[in-house]
Symmetry: D2
Subunit: 336 residues, 4 copies
C-alpha cells in the first residue's frame, strides 16, 4: 500500500481526494493535516464516518517523511509554497493540487496571486501534472503541480489544435463553474438563498488561470478568459470560440486522445455536458464549425473537484507508482 | 379597464403574462385561448385559483374582436403567423410575444424557423417591440412583435455601441438561460434528474435569435451566438465579448438609458447577475475593458419570462394605451 | 398614499415587504431603517435599483412618527420588543413581522426565545395578525403581530377542525422550509455547496413556533413540530398527521374559507405544492383520510416570505387602512 | 471475476449499479439487457463512454445462464416477476432490485401493485436482501429481493426498537425523496421548471412501501407512511415519529449496528442529513426524545439509488460470493 499524506484535509479538494482514495486498492491515507489538529476527520466531516479512522494532525514534515510515501497538498493559492520546501528537504514526494508550482514565470505568479513566490528554486523541478502531455516526466517527478480545474477543461481541447489557430484575436473562453470551485469559505454571494437560481461572472480578464492556460498553449495565442459561477455544486462547462487560421481538421488533431483513458472526444456536432462527467475523472468535449462566421466553437466539460483536481492528482499518483493509470478511477459519470 | 385576450394561455409565456396582468390596475384578462377550451384556467393551472375566473376558450377572432381591446399571442414559432391575419382583419390590435413578426427578412425566417412565412404582407406594419428604441412607433402600432428573450439581453448593451466595434471579427455572445426558456414541452434533457446539476450548450451557430440580433444591430456586425441551458428556472446571463475599433467610451454611450425605466447600467467593473433581475422587468449590465487583450466584455442579465417576454409586452401595452410605462411593472428583482 | 416605514429593511423579510409595496397602489415606503444608515437602499441591494430612491437611516422614533403612517418591523426574534415601545409612545401604528408580540404567555416567550420579554405591557393590545380570524380587531389595532410562517401553514388547515381531533396524542407536523427562512446570516450549513442537494431537520421538539401554534389552537391539542430545511429558496410544505376523535367532515369545516381571498382549500385527495404558491400570498391545502389507520393527513403550502410573512403583513395593512384586502396582493403563484 | 448480467440497464437503478460495479475489483458487467438491444450502452448513456464496452442485448435466459454468474434485475414493479422464473429455471442466481419478490403476502402485492403475482412459487425461496438482518440467508440465496429505498431508511432505525413502541397509534413516517426515485419516465410534474423550487407529497396512505415496512417490522406496528418529492436528485430523508410504550433506551438498542459497515448511528440529539450519505452506501440516523410530548423522533438519511438500491445489491453480491462486504463500496458521502 502506498502511504498517503494529505495537507489541507478538510477543504473541498482535500475531501474529494480522501473520498476518492477510499476506493483506491493500492493507496491508503495515513496522515491528514489541518491547522486544527487533534480530532478524527470523521468528527469534523460526518460523511467520512466509518470510512476512515484518520485523525487530523498539524504540519510536521519529519513525521510525514517517516509515515508517508507521498504527500498531497490541497491548499489555496500561496499557502503551499512555504510548506513544500521542508517536505522536499525531508525527501518526500509531493503532489500539489494548488496553483503555487504551476506557473514557470514568477512575475506572472506575483501579478495574478498577489505574492512573491516563496520557493522559486523548486519551479524547475516541478512537473506540470497533465497526464496526457507530461506522463513521462511525472513518472519520476518529486514535485507535481496538478493543473487548475478551468485550465484542464480548456487545455484538453485547445492544445492539439493551437497551431492551427489565428493569432490575430484572442481565443474567447467563457466557462461556468459549480459553486464548489469557490471552496468552503463563507461568502454572502454563495449563501444558498443568494446563489440558488442565480448566475454571475467574476474576475473577467484577471483570473489567475489565464496565464496558466497561455503557458501550456506555448504562449502561442492570447486567451480571453471569462469565468462564471452557476447554481450547482460540481462541474465546469467551457465554451471556447476560436478562429482557425486555415484548414483545420479537429477530428484528426484529436486522434491523439484515442487511447487516453480519461479524455472523451465526442466529435463534430456533439456537445459536452456537465451531467455526463460529474463524479468522474473524465474531460469530454465536442465542437461545431460555423461556416457563416468562420469560427470553431468547442464545448468541454469536467468535474472541477474530481477530473479537474483530485482525479487528475490520483492519475499522477498512479503514474508515479507504476500502477495502471485507471486504478481507483474507473467511475462513470454519476448521472443522475 | 383595457380588455385583454391571451392566445396560448397555458404556455410559460402566457402564464407569466396573465400573472403579471393580475397586478395591472388598468387591464383585465377577459379571454384566454387554448386548443383545449372549456375548462377554467385555474383548473388547468392551480397557481391561478382565486386570482382569475377566466375560462379557456378556442380561437374565434370575431368573438375576440367583440370582447377585447388587444390580444397577446404567446405561441411557439410559426404558430402565430396563421392566426394574426384574421385577428387583424377583425380589427384587433395584436402584441405577439412569439417570433413570427420580428424578422423583416422572410428568407432568414425560412432558414431559421423552417417554414415559409404565412403572412409576409403584415411584416411592414409590424413594429419591433423594444420600448427604448421603438417607443414612438409602438404608440399607434396595430401589430407589435416583442423581441426574443436572448435578443433583449444582447441588444440593450450592444445597440448603443455597435458603431464603435470592429467588423473584422464576430461579436461573441455566450448566453445561459434558465430551463423555462425551453417551454413546457417534456423532453428527456429537461427531466429534473437529467437537468439538475447539469449545464449544456445547444444550437451553436444556428439559433434563431442570431438573425434577429443582427437585424436590430443594423447588420453592422456578425454575431457568434452560443446559447446554453443551466440548472435553474428563470433568467438569462449573456456574456458579450467585442473588439472596439477605436476609442470607445461605453459609459457615455450608455447615457441614453439614464431615463429608461427598465434598463440598469451598472457601470465599468460591475457585473450583472440573474438574481438581481429575476421576477422583474429589468435588464441590467456592466462591463470590463481588458487592456491586455483589447477586448470589451459585457455581462447582462434579464428574466427570460418577465423582462425578456411578458414584462416588455406589458410595457408595450402601456405605451399603446397611453399609460405610464411603469404601470403594473414596478417590481424589484425577487431576491431571494 | 399611506406612508410606510420599514425597520430591518435589508433582511429577507424587509426586502420582500419593500418589493411587494412597490406594486401597492396606495402605499409608499418613505423610510427604511437599518443599523448602517446613510446609503441608498439600492446601493446595498442592487435588485432595487430604479425602483426606489429610499435612503437607509438609523432608528429615530420621533422622525418616523412625523414621516410615517405605519411602521413595519422586520427583525429577528427579541430585537423588536425594545423598539416598539418608543414607536408606540410616539403614536405610531406598528405591524411587527417578527415574533416578539405573538405569544401571550411571557414564560413561554422566555423559554423559547431565551430572553425576558422587554415590553409585556404591550402584549394585551397586540393583535394577532391572522386576517381570517382577527380581521375585526386588526382594523383598529395599533400593534399587529404577524404570525410566523410555519405557523400559518399549520393554522389555516388545523384551526377549523381542532375541536374534532383526539387529544390523546400530539398532532404531528413535519414541515420543510426553503433556506430563505433561515435569513441572510452566513452559516456553514447554508453555504451553497453544503445545502444544495441536501435536506436536514433541526430544532425537533424545541422550535419556537410550537407554542405559537398551540396558543392559536386554543391549547386544545399538543403539537409535535418537526421543522426541516430543503434545497430551495422559498416556500413551506407542512404535512400534518392528526387523529380525528369521531366523525369529522373536513370539507364542511373548511367552508369557512370560501370567501377568504388568500386561502385555497383544494379538497380531499388533492395535495398542496410549494410551486403553486411561490411568489403569492396564498396558503393552499388538501387532505387524505386514511381508513386503514384512522388518520387524517393534511398537506399545506405557503411562500414563507410572502404569504407567510410580508404578504400577510400587507393584508393587515389593507385592513387597517380600510382598503380592499387584495390591494397590491393579487399575484398568482409564480409557476414556473 | 464474477460475471454480472444486468436486466434493465438504462433505468436509473441499472445505471447506478453498472457505475458502481465499475470500481468493484471482483466483478464485471458482461451482459446488459434492455428492450432496445443492439447499441453499445455508452451510445445510449454517454456518461459510460470509455468505462465499459458492453453492448445492450435483449432478454435471453439461456444466453445469460451461459455468460453470467449472477443477474441483477433493475425493473419497475411487476416487470421482473415474469422474467425471474426462466432465469431461475436456467439456474441463474438473481438479485432483484425491484419490488416483485419482497412481499410475502400475495394479497398485499395485488393490492399495492395492482397485479396478480406471476410467480408466487418463488416467494418462499426469495431472501429479503437487508444485509444486517438476513446476512446468513443471503449467503446461499438463489433469489434475493433488495429492499425498497424508503423502506431501508425506515427499517434501520425502527427494527431494533419496534418492541418498545406503543401499538395504540401508527408510527408516522414523513419521508422526502429526490426526484431520481421516480425514475426516468417523463412526467409533467418532474419537468425541470415544474419540479425545481417545488416540493410535494404523493400517495399518502397508499404507497407500496407501506406493507413492506410493516412486514419487516413483524407487523407489530402500523405505519402511516407519507412520501414526498423534493427539488434535488438523490437521497431520502425520513422523519419518524413514534411513541415508546415504556422506558426505551435507543442508544443501547442500536448497539447492534456497531459493527455494521454501512449503518451509522449518530446518537441522541444528532440528526441525519442527505448531504452526508449522497453517493455512498450508508444509512445514518439520530434521534430526539421529546419529554414534553412523550414522542421519539428519528431522522434517517440514505442515498435512494446507492445505499437504498444498488449499493445494498452489491453488498448482497459480496455476501453471496464470500467477499468482504465492503468490496467496491468504500465510498464516503460525496460532500460537496
Amino acid at each position: 500500500m502506498i502511504r498517503i499524506g494529505v495537507i489541507g484535509a478538510i477543504g473541498y479538494a482535500g475531501r474529494e481526494l480522501i473520498r476518492l482514495l477510499g476506493i483506491h486498492p493500492e493507496a491508503e491515507v495515513v496522515a491528514a493535516v489541518e491547522l486544527e489538529g487533534g480530532r478524527p476527520l470523521a468528527d469534523v466531516l460526518p460523511a467520512f464516518a466509518k470510512t476512515t479512522g484518520v485523525v487530523l494532525e498539524t504540519f510536521d514534515p519529519d513525521k510525514l517523511a517517516r509515515e508517508c510515501d507521498v504527500v498531497f497538498m490541497a491548499l489555496p493559492g500561496t499557502q503551499s509554497m512555504g510548506l513544500v520546501p521542508p517536505l522536499r528537504s525531508a525527501g518526500i514526494r509531493v503532489i500539489d493540487m494548488g496553483p503555487d508550482f504551476r506557473l514557470k514565470d514568477t512575475a506572472a505568479f506575483h501579478q495574478y496571486y498577489g505574492a512573491e513566490h516563496a520557493a522559486p528554486e523548486l519551479l524547475p523541478e516541478s512537473v506540470y501534472g497533465l497526464a496526457p502531455y507530461y506522463r513521462d516526466r511525472i513518472r519520476d517527478a518529486q514535485l507535481v503541480a496538478v493543473p487548475g480545474c478551468y485550465v484542464m477543461s480548456v487545455l484538453f481541447p485547445l492544445r492539439p489544435i493551437v497551431d492551427g489557430l489565428s493569432t490575430d484575436v484572442p481565443v474567447v473562453v467563457d466557462a461556468i463553474s459549480g459553486v464548489s470551485g469557490a471552496g468552503r469559505k463563507l461568502l454572502e454571494a454563495f449563501h444558498f438563498p443568494e446563489m440558488n437560481e442565480n448566475l454571475l461572472a467574476y474576475k473577467l480578464g484577471v483570473h489567475q488561470h489565464t496565464p496558466e492556460i497561455e503557458q501550456e498553449l506555448g504562449n502561442k495565442v492570447m486567451v480571453q478568459f471569462s469565468p462564471h459561477v452557476g447554481p450547482y455544486t460540481r462541474g465546469i462547462l467551457s465554451t471556447i470560440t476560436a478562429r482557425p487560421s486555415g484548414d483545420l481538421d479537429p477530428a484528426s488533431s484529436y486522434a491523439c486522445y484515442d487511447d487516453e483513458p480519461y479524455v472523451r472526444v465526442l466529435g463534430e456536432g456533439k456537445l459536452a455536458q456537465v451531467g455526463a462527467v460529474r463524479g468522474s475523472n473524465f474531460c469530454e468535449f465536442g465542437w461545431v464549425r460555423d461556416q457563416r462566421t468562420g469560427n470553431l466553437i468547442i464545448v468541454s466539460a469536467i468535474d472541477n473537484l474530481l477530473g479537474g483536481t483530485a482525479g487528475m492528482a490520483v492519475q499522477c499518483l498512479n503514474i508515479m507508482f507504476r500502477l495502471d493509470e485507471r486504478t481507483g478511477l474507473n467511475l462513470a459519470g454519476m448521472a443522475p
